[in-house]
């Protein structure tokens, strides 16, 4: 979460104003408010070079529309130049003639506007009120700018725009009562009384304290104290959730939860009474947007159900564990398997809704440490790399997040990128700073596993397992470590432990099949494969293992493993079989056994389907092999042919620049949240047509980063 102007002593402010008297007046006001680092400039041309060398938090300036560079252009620049994304702007306006420019200004992230004045005490009140508001909103500039946007829209009677704006804001702050309240008012102003009434009733359900305020609003617009009846005819959806899954054997509880959720316009609510039922439904449907589950579910315990859901690839959905029966030792498991929050039974409806609001809000826009970690993890596992980088950047700058967690997040990021050494190094730093050992040990174990340091990997994973021994993924990783160490018996034992927990978990089935292949139990692995819809995960698992063997110089062990995999795969998965054959051929080719390589490909008919990538590759390899055998020469390989996509031996420190990620919605004020419906006039478009030239001087910038207490690599 951006916390603007958190510390008055650290804030750096620029005042740009060509009129000496007003510039000095603002300077004096800011000094009286306790700010010390204030620079003043007569125009933006003078301000730009300063900005190239130094960071700045807050610009206070008139529009300067007739100047060479106007303030709107500067604001546009702040949105384009990621290093300026923390620079907020307040405009001093001529209220009579310049109000029209506010549409663009707000869309560009304007924080606030104030009436130009020649009285110092007026500026004093305006600016001290603004700083007070920022504190009231915990440094959130989006919610602060929203108050100014509302005043502006009210003033201009842009009521339709106001509905659109509040709804946009709501999608970022689901269930936020301040926004809902303003939405209700906007709906009344647009004569949408039913919708307004529905919204008011939702507000009261979320927070009873607002009841008299809602009454007041209703009376103001309808003249009535009470709604005609409990009116749920129109249900807006302030949480922005379309589908929700409820799992609980207590049908009364299901009934209650369902009733509340329906009042919030969530139409698609499925309810199940046990874990098995729920799992079957989840498998056949798309990812729901919210899951509420009892912890001790009959048939399939929630701890196992959640692990299945996550390994099924449903990473985005927030999961709330609703239960009275959560033991203290379960807490780390709940956290590890990626549940978002626990709600204790029995609960009041306000508690219930507060939990939903919190969970959905944190899922969209994390402000708390744990939510950051969860969200970043989710973005990475779903390949939303840009979004995750942006969030990591935000996280690194956030003072409420401990350095230990920051290193952990960086470690997770590098793990995702496949740079396991860097990941491991970050994890070690995190461990030294002493944050949750469980997560770090687990991650370190996974890194070491990838780096083929099997003994060390096992030690880390085992330590993590001592803290929490119900994590299926970890048990399987421990088993992989044992396979790497050559201890198949222990590896099988570990898979058996995972099976005891949940033999139907897909990862368990795959691991079981893999270890059966490893130990030559082909029939068993065939039986296990029949449970799976697809064998691609098994094949990629076996491929990794075989590549690892080849890398360790055990070429023929690797090929043996490939062949067993081939024997296991049923005929219907022809593509996978071909892929394995191709890998066998590659392995032989690399070792110089060209005849054997060609032989591995003999049964594949490349003429039938030449369109697929794999078939093209196979065909090309066949041709090259035949030529090489004729000539009696070797095959040349480019480095990345065999699917071993990341070469870890070449360790290079990736100094990822998380600051330079493009800025997103709401990063500055209401940037890209405020969409004015009214057309932009040509004249106003012109105000933004040319952009000032801007270049950072790098040297001082690094110093800036350090002096600003921004988290930097050590």
């Amino acid at each position: 979460m951006k916390r603007f102007l958190e510390n008055r002593g650290d804030a750096r402010i620029a005042v740009v104003d060509p009129i000496d008297s007003s510039r000095n007046m603002i300077l004096d006001v800011l000094k009286n408010l306790g700010y010390t680092d204030i620079a003043t400039f007569v125009d933006h041309e003078q301000f730009l070079p300063y900005l190239e060398g130094k960071s700045c938090d807050w610009l206070i300036s008139p529009l300067l529309i007739d100047k060479n560079i106007n303030t709107l252009q500067m604001m546009k620049l702040f949105t384009l130049e990621p290093r300026l994304k923390n620079l907020h702007t307040s405009l001093m306006l001529d209220i009579d003639s310049e109000l029209d420019y506010l549409n663009e200004a707000f869309e560009l992230g304007l924080l606030s506007y104030h009436k130009k004045t020649f009285v110092m005490s007026d500026y004093d009140k305006e600016l001290s009120d603004l700083v007070s508001m920022i504190d009231l909103y915990d440094g959130d500039t989006t919610l602060t700018s929203a108050e100014y946007i509302r005043s502006f829209l009210k003033e201009r009677h842009f009521n339709r725009t106001r509905i659109a704006y509040e709804q946009n804001l709501l999608s970022m702050y689901p269930g936020e009562v301040r926004v809902l309240f303003s939405l209700a008012e906007a709906l009344f102003l647009n004569s949408k009384e039913d919708e307004a009434e529905g919204t008011l009733q939702q507000i009261v359900l979320i927070n009873k304290q607002l009841e008299s305020r809602c009454r007041f609003l209703r009376k103001k617009y309808t003249g009535q104290d009470d709604p005609k009846e409990e009116y749920w005819g129109f249900k807006s959806n302030p949480f922005g959730i379309k589908s929700c899954l409820l799992i609980d054997s207590d049908t009364d509880n299901i009934f209650n939860m369902k009733q509340y959720l329906e009042k919030f316009g969530i139409k698609n609510i499925e309810a199940y009474e046990d874990g098995e039922q729920a799992w079957e439904a989840i498998c056949t449907d798309k990812e729901p947007e919210l899951i509420l589950t009892e912890w001790s579910l009959p048939k399939l315990h929630a701890s196992l159900l959640i692990q299945r859901i996550r390994s099924h690839g449903f990473m985005k959905v927030p999961i709330v564990v609703v239960s009275s029966l959560v033991a203290k030792r379960d807490l780390s498991l709940i956290e590890e398997i990626g549940a978002d929050r626990i709600l204790k039974k029995p609960f009041e409806h306000e508690e219930f809704l507060e939990t939903i609001v919190w969970t959905v809000q944190q899922n969209r826009q994390p402000t708390e440490e744990r939510s950051f970690v969860l969200k970043i993890g989710r973005l990475l596992t779903t390949n939303r790399i840009d979004e995750s980088k942006r969030l990591i950047g935000e996280c690194l700058r956030n003072s409420i997040i401990s350095d230990a967690k920051k290193y952990y997040i960086l470690a997770a990021y590098q793990y995702y990128l496949g740079d396991y050494k860097t990941s491991y190094q970050h994890a070690i730093k995190a461990l030294k700073l002493g944050t949750d050992q469980l997560f770090i040990l687990d991650l370190m174990g996974k890194c070491l596993l990838q780096l083929r340091q099997f003994e060390k990997a096992y030690i880390c994973l085992e330590k993590a397992n001592a803290i929490c021994d119900l994590n299926i993924e970890r048990l399987l990783n421990m088993s992989s470590a044992k396979v790497g160490m050559g201890d198949l018996t222990e590896a099988e034992n570990l898979v058996a432990k995972a099976k005891q927990l949940d033999s139907e978990n897909r990862e368990v089935v795959i691991a079981d099949a893999a270890i059966s292949i490893e130990s030559g139990k082909i029939d068993k692995s065939k039986g296990l494969l029949s449970k799976l819809h697809s064998g691609s995960k098994l094949v990629s698992h076996m491929n990794n293992r075989a590549v690892s063997l080849v890398k360790m110089g055990k070429l023929y062990d690797g090929i043996k493993l490939y062949k067993r995999t081939l024997d296991t795969l049923p005929e219907k998965w022809e593509d996978l079989k071909n892929a394995v054959s191709y890998n066998i051929a590659l392995a032989y080719s690399k070792s110089g056994d060209l005849e054997l390589a060609l032989q591995a490909l003999t049964n594949i008919d490349t003429s039938a389907d030449n369109e697929s990538e794999l078939m093209k590759k196979i065909h090309s390899l066949q041709v090259r092999l035949k030529k090489a055998i004729q000539k009696g020469s070797k095959l040349e390989f480019s480095s990345n042919v065999d699917g071993d996509h990341k070469d870890n031996s070449d360790y290079s420190f990736i100094n990822e620049d998380f600051q330079s990620i493009s800025i997103g919605r709401g990063d500055i004020g209401s940037y890209r949240i405020f969409y004015p419906i009214d057309d932009v006039s040509e004249e106003r478009k012109k105000s933004l047509s040319k952009m000032p030239k801007f270049k950072f001087s790098n040297v001082s910038n690094d110093e800036e980063l350090l002096s600003n207490k921004v988290f930097v690599y050590k």
Binding site: S112, K125, L130, S132, L136, R178, L210
Partner: protein, 257 residues
């Protein structure tokens, strides 16, 4: 009366002409369990105070039509104690001395700290117009005062001081040696004041120094403004006894000339 308000919920009236700040503050207070009413100037505020039961007023000082000074004067003319008023003030709008003399309960300068404000609002609505708690105080020795942070408490004994005037929530002590190192704003002092032959023969209390006037200003003699923070029951009785005829409007008197 507002039917939507439950009985334990306290009502706070915000008088503030800046609508953005007023709304932001209103929602913050509502989230903290308060019922909130709003007014954009002193006249609107006074109308509401006459019509509703209000437990606390938070008022800006500079407002159009009727400002905070006018508002508090009007409120105190209706009732010397209730509702208490907290001033939010910009730089140099009004001096602390004047504000407390007008009868405000507390005074926060803008930009204020939200947490601090919420604490004060809770205190003001709980204590209902006074700002002290009862505790046994014996000559300043061995007292345990939990609510007074962890500030050091200095013991001060005053024998027949030249000039003491009693307010509703504190005292002005004049003529004292204000250059003394403990005489600074924010100091907590365990006062033990004995008077010769007066109605208040002896009072003991812990007070916080709110303001210090080192030299005569605008015809007012030097001295300190002290807020009662903690008081023994016997001292409280004596002080309340002094109020019998008329409760002073002033919270901490500004002092005499």
């Amino acid at each position: 009366m507002n039917e939507g308000v439950n009985r334990s919920q306290k009502t706070v009236l915000i008088a503030e002409d800046n609508v953005q700040l007023r709304e932001a503050l209103a929602f913050k207070l509502m989230r903290n369990g308060f019922n909130v009413l709003e007014a954009s100037d002193g006249i609107e505020a006074l109308t509401q105070i006459k019509g509703e039961k209000i437990d606390l007023v938070i008022s800006d000082i500079r407002m159009p039509k009727s400002d905070g000074v006018e508002l508090i004067t009007n409120i105190r003319n209706i009732d010397a104690r209730m509702p208490p008023v907290i001033f939010l003030s910009g730089y140099s709008d009004l001096s602390l001395e004047k504000a407390y003399d007008l009868g405000c309960f507390d005074f926060l300068s803008k930009p204020f700290n939200t947490k601090e404000l919420i604490e004060i609002v809770k205190l003001a609505t709980e204590l209902g117009g006074i700002d002290w708690i009862n505790s046994q105080i014996d000559d300043g020795s061995n007292i345990e005062v939990l609510s007074l942070d962890k500030k050091d408490i200095v013991i001060g004994k005053l024998h027949d001081p030249e000039d003491v005037s009693l307010g509703r929530g504190g005292v002005f002590i004049g003529g004292s040696d204000t250059s003394n190192s403990v005489c600074k704003e924010g100091s907590l002092i365990n006062f033990d004041i004995s008077f010769k032959g007066a109605l208040l023969d002896k009072i003991s209390f812990i007070g916080e120094i709110i303001w210090v006037r080192n030299s005569p200003e605008e015809g007012l003699c030097p001295g300190i403004g002290v807020k009662f923070r903690c008081m023994s029951e016997s001292s409280e009785k004596k002080i309340l006894g002094c109020y019998l005829e008329e409760i002073p409007k002033s919270f901490i008197p500004i002092g005499n000339n």
